[in-house]
């Protein structure tokens, strides 16, 4: 949903905030996924 507030927040700030949490989370998920793949070997 679009809000008036969203128009006022710089996109780079939003992107930075999401990258800040997204990068470590993605790294952790990939590490776990590579371990999980052992189930199929």
């Amino acid at each position: 949903m679009t809000t008036a507030n969203q128009q006022g927040t710089p996109a780079w700030q939003l992107a930075l905030a999401w990258l800040f949490v997204g990068i470590p989370l993605t790294w952790g998920v990939l590490q776990t996924l590579s371990n999980a793949m052992k189930l199929f070997h």
Partner: protein
């Protein structure tokens, strides 16, 4: 005290131009850090060899002693979220996140000293007590804020944050192992140094969350959002005071629903590796079992977001009906998968079960919001987390002791879990009945109406 005034709720009210999509990353900053608790077991084995280095020496701690660290932390999670819930709710998310960051980092630093001087009581007090308090305060800190920012999608919003708690272990586990490798030498195991680095990193990460979090201005609504005209009987527009919620049957019914759902999931989560190997001897190796556990963790995390988001469309009570009915069918199927030797069916059954275990955690804040309103939902959620602590004891006890009883009474290991699975299915039937009994909260518990009632005698006297 004025130095800390930036922590006050009044200083966290969003100015025009603030995007609500900044709030989920703020919540994730906290939940990704405190989710480390699920990965604490990676320290257990290294901490049994702190003196002996290559193997345990006299004076080294043993696994049962170390197991208490996690248990104490979980106990204080439930206790602190119940005790500090109202304080968190009234003081706002920034103060709560800041406090959680201090306690979480402090817990690691005290534990590092405990490892350095080899005093287990310092670790019990550090990670167990202080860290446990951080877990409780941190877990509930963003809940009501997210619900207020996302009145149109409360399930999705809280699901996103609580998903972070599940995801925190994914980061902590490889990070901790990597740091311990880096700090360990042939004469030293680098647990203390790892605790210090983790404490410092988590503190910074949580402070970012504390800095960027905002509460919406009073009566703020997303543009285009119109509260449903047609009222849903299970979604209230009134608020219930935190301690009045305890007097309602709805609180205790949802408490039972959460407790039973978590009991059913947590027992198998802890025993998944051993169970898969014993039910499928020769088919699932130790390595494959580790992969299975990893896959379960991913579904535990993904289920939090998926089911909580789904609940926005099908309703909270219906979501729990799905957990109970589908869970019942799947638990009853597990012994059959063992008897026909179908690993694929076994894995699929448990992945769905564990996604619903995570989903149960993530959907409950929105369920509470529907029942008790948004004003004290964080605090009420804190009180409800005692169900988690209870389930944390019940689940493993049921799985472990019933398996042990069966094995000592001559039941083959491959069938030792069958009775447990049927008991878990039975628990979900009880959960189904409790969920069925959830009705709207009686109007006498609503805050506004109570205030009006209190004012009535005064008006009459005037």
């Amino acid at each position: 005290m004025s130095m800390l005034s930036f922590l006050d709720r009044s200083h966290t009210v969003a100015k025009p131009g603030f995007s609500r999509w900044m709030v989920p990353p703020a919540a994730l900053c906290v939940h990704l850090c405190i989710g480390q608790a699920y990965a604490f077991s990676v320290f257990n084995l290294p901490m049994t060899k702190l003196l002996g280095i290559t193997q345990s020496a006299p004076g080294d701690w043993n696994l049962p002693q170390l197991g208490w660290i996690f248990s104490i932390a979980m106990f204080f999670l439930g206790t602190s979220s119940a005790v500090f819930g109202r304080w968190v709710e009234e003081g706002g998310p920034r103060r709560a996140m800041f406090t959680a960051a201090l306690c979480w980092a402090g817990g690691f630093f005290i534990s590092a000293i405990g490892v350095y001087v080899h005093n287990l009581w310092l670790i019990y007090g550090g990670y167990g007590v202080l860290g446990g308090i951080a877990l409780g305060i941190g877990y509930i800190s963003p809940v009501s804020t997210l619900i207020k920012w996302f009145p149109d999608r409360p399930g999705m919003a809280t699901g996103m944050a609580i998903m972070g708690f599940g995801g925190g272990a994914f980061i902590a586990s490889p990070l901790s192992v990597g740091l311990m490798d880096k700090f360990s030498t042939s004469t030293h195991i680098g647990v203390a140094e790892t605790f210090i680095v983790l404490g410092a990193v988590y503190f910074c990460f949580m402070m970012v969350g504390s800095a960027i979090v905002r509460v919406p201005p009073p009566d703020w609504k997303p543009i285009g959002y119109v509260a449903p005209v047609k009222t849903h009987k299970l979604i209230t527009r009134n608020d219930v005071f935190v301690y009045d919620a305890l007097k309602t049957p709805q609180f205790w019914l949802i408490w039972m629903v959460l407790c039973l759902n978590v009991t059913a999931g947590i027992g198998v989560l802890g025993q998944a590796s051993a169970m898969s190997q014993e039910m499928f001897p020769g088919q699932i190796s130790v390595t494959a079992a580790a992969g299975f556990v990893g896959l379960m963790s991913l579904f535990n995390m993904g289920g939090r977001f998926f089911w909580a988001s789904t609940s926005d469309y099908i309703g909270r009570r219906n979501t729990y009906f799905v957990f109970m009915v589908l869970g019942f069918a799947l638990y009853c199927t597990v012994p059959y998968t063992g008897s026909i030797g179908s690993v694929a069916l076994f894995v699929c059954a448990f992945l769905i079960i564990i996604s619903m275990y995570g989903g149960g955690f993530a959907t409950v804040p929105a369920y509470l919001k529907d029942m008790f309103g948004t004003r004290y939902v964080g605090a009420i959620h804190g009180l409800l987390l005692t169900a988690w602590s209870t389930a944390g004891i019940l689940g493993p006890v049921l799985v472990n002791y019933i398996r042990e009883y069966n094995v000592t009474h001559g039941v083959p290991k491959a069938q030792a879990y069958n009775v447990t699975m049927y008991i878990m299915a039975g628990l979900l039937v009880v959960g189904f009945i409790c969920n069925l009994m959830v009705k709207p909260v009686d109007a006498r518990f609503h805050m506004r109406e109570r205030e009006d009632e209190n004012l009535a005698p005064a008006k009459a006297a005037a």
